[in-house]
């Protein structure tokens, strides 16, 4: 059994190297297919990261009157905190707000100068409310609008929903295009593998005839071509790993420039999930290749 297995692998390697150009084309097509699949994955990951980052920043500001009393504010804070839709409420006093403002504009002497000339604190105390999740955002806005405490000066509800929907729709469109492209490449891969195996069998038809004549079993005759599929998948995935990581490293600075202030790190993601991502691709690639080989073998190796 062991010898048989070693021989089968030897035969399939021989078969790959005997038709080296065809094998190279096969692996290159496989690489293209894997590349589109990984691009697809990348777009999906960027989309998810962007949505997550935006979701993290979603909050609703309730601006209070400057003269509002501390205990009234805290009572309102507690009331809002009790709402189902609320994850947490942060109270920023006007002193704190001023401090934050100064910090933010510390490089801008004109603003700081204007502030000093005002001589009073123009900033209002604020309640910063984070919703539990995006789905309850509308409900939360309605609830906050319904509050009639007279210490509330104004309400500012930025429409994050529209932004997120835009991100989602872009991700969705790119994903659709990616799936379409991947499907085409996977189909091409199947055809190319099928053809490689067909040619390999044709090249070896004399050898196959002899094998049958001397009593080799069918699985021994067919196995090398299935193993070839496995070997193609192995080289394809190995190559895509060698190609994709440098590609991501090149891309990363642009992504960071594009998503300033957000934590979007693809390289981390692809390193952290390397075994899952490429393991799955190897598995799927092997299955697809063996499937294509199996059809070709079933059709052409009967002598």
């Amino acid at each position: 059994m062991f010898f048989s297995f070693a021989r089968i692998i030897k035969f399939s390697l021989q078969d790959i190297f005997r038709n080296i150009w065809l094998s190279l084309v096969t692996v290159i097509i496989l690489i293209l297919a894997l590349f589109t699949v990984n691009m697809l994955l990348m777009v999906k990951v960027i989309g998810d990261m962007a949505v997550e980052a935006v979701e993290e920043k979603i909050d609703v500001n309730l601006y209070l009157k400057p003269n509002a009393k501390e205990d009234e504010i805290l009572a309102l804070k507690a009331k809002i905190n009790n709402l189902n839709e609320v994850k947490n409420v942060e109270y920023i006093s006007n002193a704190q707000a001023l401090k934050n403002f100064k910090e933010k504009h510390q490089d801008n002497p004109e603003i700081l100068e204007a502030l000093r000339e005002l001589n009073i604190n123009p900033l209002t105390p604020t309640l910063v409310i984070k919703p539990k999740n995006l789905d309850v955002f509308d409900n939360l806005v309605n609830r906050l609008n319904a509050l009639d405490e007279n210490i509330i000066e104004s309400r500012n509800f930025t429409n994050y929903k529209a932004l997120l929907e835009k991100i989602n729709s872009i991700t969705r469109k790119v994903t659709e295009a990616g799936i379409f492209l991947s499907a085409i490449f996977i189909m091409i891969t199947i055809l190319v593998i099928y053809n490689s195996v067909r040619v390999a069998i044709y090249t070896h038809r004399r050898q196959i005839t002899i094998m049958k004549l001397v009593g080799a079993s069918n699985w021994f005759i067919q196995m090398p071509y299935l193993i070839s599929g496995l070997i193609y998948a192995f080289f394809g995935v190995a190559a895509i790993m060698l190609i994709f990581y440098p590609f991501l490293s090149l891309l990363q600075p642009y992504l960071e420039a594009f998503f300033v202030g957000y934590n979007v790190n693809l390289l981390d993601f692809f390193y952290g999930n390397m075994f899952t991502i490429f393991g799955m691709q190897f598995l799927a690639g092997s299955l697809i290749n063996m499937f294509a080989s199996l059809i070709a073998v079933g059709k052409y190796s009967r002598v």
């Binding site: 010898f3 002899i210 049958k212 004549l213 009593g215 069918n218």
Partner: protein, 226 residues
């Protein structure tokens, strides 16, 4: 050893390649099968190794009814029957040793066993000095002897030879027949399909004559009668 019961084979409507063949070959026999071109001799050989299925009748080999043999059992059958052909069917990119070893490798033979058996069969056919040669480097007769060596690696009980001398001159042909006789003497049943009148007449063994898919004569010590 080999029994045909009313075996018929029809490839297509043009006619029967085999027509109600009845044949019994005893263990250790040496039988020549003769007949004109296209009369069904090769078809007869093919039905014995499961390469063609018969349409009627029954074939029993060594007590095993192979009439409706399954794909999985064919390799087992073929390891018990050695076959050689007019065109040798050697692999040109392999040495003679590799060609013979190949037959054992693809059947799962262990390297140690291969190392022992291959030189042994090469010696039987008298090619022990040529094991490193490639098929193009040796004569047709030597190539056929290599093919015979390959057919012997599984120690078959039956050796089928379909026109083994068809591509050889008479000196080489005689050597091959001598070799087949020697193998037969060891106890292997030999079926020799041939066109060669001289060979058959010199053999003084059983001769079965086929014409148009039918056995028209079967003589214990036969002559080429066509």
């Amino acid at each position: 050893m080999i029994r045909f019961h009313n075996v018929s084979k029809i490839y297509n409507k043009s006619g029967k390649a085999l027509n109600k063949i009845n044949l019994h070959v005893k263990p250790g026999e040496f039988v020549s099968i003769v007949g004109q071109s296209g009369t069904g001799k090769t078809t007869l050989v093919k039905t014995m190794i499961g390469e063609e299925q018969v349409d009627e009748g029954k074939i029993i080999i060594g007590g095993w009814d192979i009439t409706d043999i399954g794909q999985r059992e064919i390799p087992i059958l073929r390891r018990q029957i050695g076959v050689i052909f007019q065109d040798f069917k050697l692999l040109n990119k392999k040495t003679l040793f590799e060609n013979v070893a190949f037959a054992m490798q693809v059947c799962g033979g262990r390297p140690a066993k291969i190392k022992k058996i291959v030189p042994h069969v090469m010696k039987i056919v008298g090619l022990e000095k040529k094991i490193s040669s490639y098929p193009q480097e040796i004569s047709g007769g030597e190539q056929q002897r290599a093919a015979i060596a390959r057919a012997l690696v599984h120690r078959p009980k039956i050796l089928l030879a379909d026109e083994p001398t068809g591509n050889l001159d008479s000196i080489n042909a005689n050597e091959i027949i001598e070799l087949l006789l020697r193998i037969n003497k060891f106890g292997t049943t030999v079926i020799l399909v041939t066109h060669n009148r001289e060979v058959v007449n010199n053999l003084r063994r059983r001769v079965v004559t086929i014409d148009d898919g039918t056995i028209i004569s079967d003589q214990a010590v036969g002559k080429y009668i066509l």
